[in-house]
């Protein structure tokens, strides 16, 4: 028995893109409904048009993007025909929105209390005192500590999770009937993400709100969705109840997405790699000191604290841990991109720590790196050919030889030979990451450090790149240090996993062991926070 007017009804919505884009419509013929008290998840790859619908509902589309057809009915009233003033009255009151990036979404020059109170102020709600009280109430409600003093803080003083809670408090201030959340947890740690998801679910239940939740993470969908809409290139390819879509996906695109969701492979236990240790790290220490002056003590961060491990040829070590735990710093130390405060890094028995940059340079070719961001790690002004030959040329390889090698590598990582003369911006993220891998391989390294090398990619692309890396590693017998914050990914590809917490390795072992029988409390917490743990994507597409 459903009420006749749904909370939200998107009806045949199309939004045209300006000329010069790769497709004509940002979203095309979109139709779905959201009822009060329901969580509707919109999933799909980057650029599929998820945010566009949300922005259209809020009337936040840039002025040059206009819905060309369709209706958006909120409680039966068409938002697309409302004037800006009317819309402004609805925003924040009947429908609220929270965004992905919690730092940039808050005004840096206003205290969080002011920003929350502003919602009530602009909607003419209450007086100064009642608003103040409400702010305190809200801050408390979203679980922020010490609301009385926190409301006078500026956003930059709050952690990411806290900021996102402020955003939620702001969205809830007038108890709207509907909440739109555009990837609200993507920028957060798994543990924080779990808390925020929990918070949203709790509020949604308590207030009976309708929630439109945008995400690209099927794990999140599995945890919270009542209904799911799957989008691809501006079109809805599949929609239905969460159970249907997750466990009985029909459309090939949905199936492909679900298949790509990383999932620890419990069965596979890998053969312990034998042979000479390639890299031995002993009691590595790295402390950052910053600020500090005549009267203040400098801020001291022990980013790497007494870390030791051994890596053999052909072995993959996964380093996991939450943001700021020191993973990247560890990688940077090994590659001598930063100096080390203590300990040893023995590469083939030779300690790298005391070497000068100049003395180390000839050895660099053996230790290579694949970077996180496929967009930022390729020089936008160089052709792919140049990017791939720079390294060998710097190491004394003649140009023609380097060029030949570069072309071979393109084939090896599955790129068209024509890529050689093109520039990075002409490639997709996944393709660029392949270039990044080819660049690292151009020097025939023995050790590869991959720092979050797939985090910036969409799940399906991520799966392809991971496959490629595993493949190449087997083929070339390279040792890999695989840094990631995603335990699921690490468990899928690594021989060993080391869990870092505040600069120290708190637990290490084979993936199955770490995953199934975590010993350290922190690891346990980490694993518990993984979204969608109870859902097995493998079974869904089997």
């Amino acid at each position: 028995m459903k009420p006749t007017t749904p909370l939200l009804k998107v009806d045949n919505l199309s939004i045209e893109l300006p000329a010069g884009f790769d497709r004509k419509y940002a979203v095309e013929n979109l139709s779905y409904t959201l009822e009060a008290g329901e969580i509707l998840c919109v999933v799909g790859e980057s650029g599929s048009g998820k945010s566009m619908t949300a922005n259209a509902i809020m009337g936040l589309l840039p002025s040059y993007l206009k819905p060309s057809s369709g209706r958006i009915l909120l409680n039966g009233r068409d938002l697309l025909v409302m004037s800006e003033q009317e819309l402004a009255r609805e925003r924040g009151r009947t429908v609220s929105m929270i965004f992905q990036e919690p730092l940039s979404a808050l005004n840096p020059l206003m205290t969080v209390g002011e920003q929350i109170a502003e919602v009530m102020l602009v909607h003419g709600e209450g007086d100064a005192r009642s608003r103040d009280e409400r702010v305190l109430e809200l801050l408390d409600y979203v679980g922020l500590p010490d609301p009385a003093s926190l409301r006078h803080s500026y956003p930059f003083r709050l952690s990411g999770g806290q900021r996102q809670r402020v955003m939620i408090a702001m969205a809830l201030a007038l108890e709207p009937a509907m909440l739109i959340a555009d990837e609200p947890t993507t920028a957060l740690d798994v543990t924080t993400q779990a808390q925020i998801l929990e918070l949203i679910r709790r509020i949604q239940r308590a207030k009976g709100m309708g929630v439109l939740f945008i995400t690209h993470d099927f794990g999140v969908v599995a945890d919270i969705a009542d209904k799911v809409v799957v989008m691809e290139k501006g079109l809805i390819v599949e929609q239905g109840t969460a159970d249907d879509v997750l466990n009985r996906p029909q459309h090939p695109y949905t199936r492909r997405l679900i298949a790509a969701v990383p999932h620890p492979d419990e069965s596979a236990t890998r053969a312990e790699a034998a042979g000479e240790p390639l890299l031995e790290v002993r009691n590595l220490q790295k402390t950052y000191r910053s600020g500090g002056g005549l009267f203040t003590r400098p801020r001291i961060v022990k980013a790497v604290d007494d870390v030791s491990f051994t890596l053999r040829r052909g072995e993959t070590l996964g380093v996991v841990g939450e943001s700021g735990s020191g993973k990247s710093t560890l990688g940077r130390c090994i590659l001598k991109l930063t100096d080390v405060d203590g300990g040893e890094i023995r590469y083939r028995g030779k300690d790298l720590v005391p070497l000068s940059q100049a003395a180390f340079r000839p050895m660099r070719r053996h230790l290579q790196m694949v970077f996180q961001d496929p967009f930022a790690s390729l020089n936008p002004r160089h052709t792919i050919g140049r990017i791939l030959t720079d390294g060998p040329v710097a190491n004394g390889v003649p140009m023609d030889e380097a060029q030949k090698k570069a072309r071979d590598l393109l084939a090896l990582v599955g790129l068209d030979p024509s890529a050689y003369d093109r520039y990075p911006h002409e490639f997709s993220g996944g393709q660029r990451q392949r270039v990044g891998i080819a660049r690292a391989l151009a020097l025939d390294p023995e050790l590869l450090v991959a720092d979050e090398s797939v985090s910036a990619l969409d799940v399906s692309v991520q799966a392809q790149v991971l496959d490629l890396m595993q493949d190449l590693q087997k083929k070339l017998d390279i040792a890999v240090i695989f840094i990631t914050h995603d335990l699921r990914v690490a468990a899928e590809v690594c021989d060993k996993i080391a869990v870092m917490y505040r600069g120290a390795i708190v637990e290490a072992g084979p993936p199955a062991e770490v995953f199934n029988a975590p010993r350290h409390a922190y690891t346990q917490k980490l694993i518990a926070a993984i979204p969608g743990r109870h859902w097995n994507p493998r079974a869904a597409v089997a």
Partner: protein, 325 residues
């Protein structure tokens, strides 16, 4: 505590910079052809060797260079800026007599250009793409491209000679004997043309800067948040965009404050404004080194001070600064 520490650090740095400027200029000036004695002899309309030698000895110019530099620095550190060769008056007196005029002129030009520039920039950004925007930006471009002295000449021609609204030069009505409020009004009246002349170029700069900064901030996420909250456009501009957009304008302005003093050389010349810009130029032409060095020292100190004050204000306006260090 943190602010105090910051202040001490910055003052030390400022002192260092000012000292550097003085040494740099001292050495630079030594490269000039002709020395003050020769100029004075030339001015006197006569002069023989004995006359010039007398002057040189009196000014200490017969000493080796490093001795001159050391004794100059020593004097400066003890607060003595030396004696003007030409005017035979302590440099500090000379500068102090003329500094207020320049501070008044540059200060009001600074305020004028900053306020007007920000207002126009905000208007242009708010009405982006409209006729008003185009008019403001075209105007800004034209004032940006017009030589300052040209504006000055035209302004005098139009407003003093043809319309007879404003006095064409001087800082006050000389010999009128105004006191109190009447004097203030009299000076204000005289201040209009030079201020506008000196300020127009910078008004253009700030207008463009403000507009660009506003547009940039308007694209930031938190503006979208504010819209999503239902904040009306006017309030978004005032409460969210403006404050964030103005900070870079202020930073830029505080760095530019010194440039106004440079522009004052021209303005003071055209408007017979008794400030230190003109003093500097005359001192340069007459090789009156102590005065020249003194003016540079004082302007450097003023510039450094303005920057320091700006930084301090910044710390109050922008809560993020303190941790950023």
């Amino acid at each position: 505590m943190k602010t105090l520490e910051f202040l001490i650090q910055r003052l030390a740095k400022a002192a260092f910079v000012v000292l550097g400027v003085v040494i740099l200029n001292f050495l630079l000036i030594q490269l000039a052809p002709g020395d003050p004695a020769a100029v004075l002899a030339g001015e006197a309309g006569a002069g023989d060797e004995q006359f010039i030698a007398q002057l040189r000895a009196q000014f200490g110019l017969d000493q080796p260079l490093y001795v001159q530099l050391l004794s100059y620095l020593q004097n400066v550190l003890s607060g003595d800026l030396g004696y003007s060769y030409r005017n035979q008056v302590p440099v500090a007196d000379l500068i102090m007599e003329r500094l207020p005029a320049t501070l008044l002129l540059t200060g009001s030009a600074f305020l004028f250009s900053l306020v007007l520039g920000i207002v126009l920039g905000v208007l242009a950004a708010y009405k982006r793409g409209s006729l008003g925007d185009s008019l403001i930006m075209t105007g800004a471009l034209i004032f940006y491209a017009t030589p300052l002295f040209w504006v000055a000449l035209m302004a005098v021609l139009v407003f003093s000679i043809h319309l007879d609204w404003l006095p064409p030069f001087d800082m006050e009505s000389i010999g009128a004997g105004y006191t109190g409020w009447a004097r203030v009004m009299d000076i204000a009246h005289h201040l209009v043309l030079p201020t506008v002349t000196l300020g127009l170029f910078f008004t253009a700069v700030y207008t463009r800067l403000t507009r660009a900064s506003m547009l940039e901030v308007m694209n930031l996420d938190f503006v979208k948040t504010a819209r999503a909250k239902g904040v009306p456009k006017g309030r978004i501009i005032r409460r969210h965009v403006l404050r964030n957009a103005i900070l870079p304008v202020f930073t830029f302005a505080s760095v530019q404050a010194g440039q106004l003093v440079g522009g004052a050389v021209l303005t003071e010349t055209v408007f017979a404004w008794p400030g230190i810009g003109r003093l500097m130029f005359d001192a340069l032409m007459q090789r009156d080194y102590p005065v020249l060095l003194g003016v540079f020292l004082v302007t450097a100190a003023v510039v450094v001070l303005v920057n320091l004050v700006a930084d301090l204000l910044y710390r109050f306006v922008d809560p993020r600064i303190e941790t950023a260090g």
